[in-house]
Symmetry: D2
């Protein structure tokens, strides 16, 4: 297929490389072109504007936040200049409100909008092991299914409304953040009693809490190792904020999400913004003054 790709951060590069590797023609754009070098060396074409990436059959993008989508897609006029019948696949975690707005704008220009946020850290992206939640037109999804399976291991369709995929993604990220906070509080409790958090987390994540989130993040928390970051505290705060906004728009109180918001803010105020979001666990440890007690 003729595929455009916008947004070559760590996730975007890994995903685009898999598209290229699968034999598709790939046009790429990134605000800073240097990020495209490896892809161009591999056969991708670097285009000069985001709109030029929208001239094929499919456009994918992985942009950082709502503001980046507004600036690149809307102000960049990407939909206005798109080829007829373009399917646009938005892989990023955006707000529910923006998903609705972009889908409407796409439709107005004859572009089919698929919201396709992904679960998985950069390693999973590189290994084409992402889980892709897809909302939007079923026929369009069918058309690009094999393309999506070059970047992920499974597709989870959630129906015709694109923003439903974003709600699922935000609710899922809330669950991950809640697991981080929970392990942080539990680890603080056991450490304060003189038990090693590694021993505690090993028991729980080998049994009741087997599963990737608890096992992978449990290791980071037990080792208090928050660098390099797979996903940062700053991004974690952004996603919790988006979950809270999605909740507020439908009047859903989420007290645990409120705790997460406060603790991400505190981690940020403590200078941990660029650490892995597993560093959320340090907030509970700090509140209990564990370091000062030698625990």
């Amino acid at each position: 297929m003729d595929v455009g790709f916008i947004g070559l951060g760590r996730m975007g590069q890994a995903i685009a490389a898999n598209v290229l590797r699968a034999g598709h023609r790939l046009s790429v754009w990134n605000r800073s072109p240097a990020a495209a070098e490896a892809l161009v060396a591999g056969g991708a074409q670097l285009v000069g504007t985001p709109a030029q990436a929208a001239r094929g059959e499919v456009l994918m993008s992985m942009l950082a936040d709502d503001a980046a989508h507004r600036s690149v897609l809307i102000e960049g006029g990407v939909f206005a200049g798109a080829s007829g019948g373009l399917v646009y696949v938005n892989l990023a975690t955006v707000s529910v409100a923006l998903a609705r707005e972009l889908a409407a704008l796409a439709a107005a220009h004859g572009v089919t909008y698929l919201a396709a946020p992904v679960f998985g850290r950069p390693e999973a992206a590189a290994a084409a092991k992402l889980n892709i939640v897809v909302g939007g037109d079923g026929a369009a999804l069918t058309r690009i299914e094999s393309l999506l399976l070059t970047i992920g291991e499974r597709i989870w369709p959630v129906g015709a409304l694109p923003e439903h995929a974003n709600v699922v993604k935000l609710a899922g990220n809330f669950m991950i953040a809640s697991a981080l906070e929970t392990m942080g509080e539990a680890a603080a409790l056991v450490r304060a009693h003189g038990i090693r958090s590694a021993d505690f987390l090993d028991i729980l994540t080998s049994t009741l809490f087997a599963g990737p989130v608890y096992q992978n993040y449990g290791r980071l928390i037990a080792a208090q190792r928050y660098q390099p970051a797979g996903f940062t505290v700053t991004l974690g705060l952004k996603d919790v904020r988006l979950a809270l906004e999605a909740a507020e728009s439908e009047r859903v109180p989420m007290p645990v999400a409120g705790v997460l918001r406060d603790h991400f803010l505190e981690a940020l105020a403590a200078g941990r913004g660029e650490q892995d979001w597993a560093a959320l666990a340090e907030v509970a440890a700090t509140h209990a003054a564990l370091a000062a007690r030698g625990r």
Copy 2:
């Protein structure tokens, strides 16, 4: 071995049956003797006082709460009349303070105290699939290890201090309750947006949150099926309270545990005390008035 067993609730009966089935001599006591019928039919001996169950090599008990331990063990004079060299294995979830007190009392009467709280619901107990966290004297643990493996699939030793096993158990139950609350809030969010919670939870528990707690309780929450209860809301509140006490004694703030406490109280006030503690998820749904909105 010559084993006594005190406390034949649902968990206790299942565990004692496995001890018996493994060929050990079993003396049982329960406040209401009727609960012992099946065991007696299987060859166990019913004794008339708790103290009489302490005349063998090992005494196990599975009592409901701190008050029951005080009344049966302390007021019942169980340690005072125990056989020399008795190993007492306390399988229940008790407070850290009571664990310390019982261990000291046992020691004063020459009884070795092993705290051995278990993870697992009644089905797991029946299938001898419990995970047993053990704190206390290592030599005593070695002596009864094969006995413990007749009731559980794995032993997790946490060192010489009995109460450490209780801290681990309480921290673990806190993690389970937090998972229930988290799924409840996430499910309320997606339902309010018109997404089926079963669809959402299926995605998450098939991927990032694979593992028994999320999968088993996710099913109950998606189906809103809280009866019969494997573990009740009332017991959930008790364990969160014990976790908060253990945290307070070491000055560890646990804000998510505070949310859990409030929501268990609310579930109780709403008449859900005897439902499965997965009903915690209904609190979030109620706050968002989902039923009134047909969501």
Copy 3:
């Protein structure tokens, strides 16, 4: 003075009437002109566009929320067409971000922006008893001080940055909402024990908590009388959200504000959006199922 006034809701009408009564020439504009009738009967001039209200020496406005300010002031081109040297006095509670943006826009058109949010309910506005927090240019404030004293009993200058007045106002409204929640929780506690909340609140608000907020709202909460609304639940949620945004922009965790947000959302979901924000107290009573228990 020659004064324009935009936004004739309940607060705006009461304030504008005091300006008129003090002998100033008054031009008024409101989206729905009917709201201007009493003022016109009293001598005010109704103008056809918001921009026309900006042709005098001073422009005041009292608009509902950030969106109304954008639509009326920015899209309405009010600053662009303002008379030279206009002092614009924004009496409303707006976001810190909008205050900065409006102040910059005003300055670009030679208009001096004073943020002047007020404390006081409609009765206080009618009685010219408002407390006015003012941020912005000191000389401009001096020039209009006597005008402000026709609508309020005291001016509280907070320095040269307009948005500081908004931060103070939002922090103040957070304190009021927190007092409502606190009285709600305390009242639920005493009622559950069989004590009348009126008796309890009478003791506290006659002694330690003498002062208008506790006394006035304490009466509403004791009587469970939430209509007519002086300030609605919907507006309360808006202001808590603005406080949380102002906190997030400077990385300040505010856990009590998080509780308030959740409870305002729950009150809204329960259909209380147009009740007085003192109805926040009902959330705590509902969680304890007091009605069902006849307490």
Copy 4:
């Protein structure tokens, strides 16, 4: 009257001195007799056991916590040896459960139990300006009313159940602690924006939040002056715990009390246990890292 007084901490000494000054015969007991010196110099009689203080018409006590009441009153056999018709006035803040237990024990020995917890710091006690909440037998209260008015400025009767006075006191202390937390969060917000907290708190406590709690504690918080302590962080935590227990026994969720508990624990973990409980405000400032930012 013939009055006994047990418990001569800072509050107890000030109160007993007022009783003595009013011309009553006073027998005093304290664990450490040195605390009685000034009173003895003023004419009080020092007795050797708590029970000896119960030989007059009225016994008052001001003991530190539930444990002290158990040890001094119950183990000390105070009620057993009391004079016939003794009225016992418990001025301390104790748990609802202990109030019930003591009242029953007193009744069994023919002693009338009045729960009479007081609002007021040591300065108010010295100035006989306490507010006294009284639960218990109305006739007994009538008999000692004039005695109580020698130590306080007003009596607030709450009916025949002693523990109702304790519930009111605990709910009141919860309200004070909530005001401390609220001012702490609001002050952190304004400081983070570059506004002096003294300026902010001056506006609010001069207007909407006039009244002793906000004005007195507002000054301490604005000055960040937490020594000497009128009432310590340690005692604040104790009272919040008692409020949470009283709430739990009647199934009342109190999320703000949960925040208070966590923040008192954090203040304690940070070594602030002996500071004035207004230091609760420092927790919010610490979370926002204000000191590190020079705010």
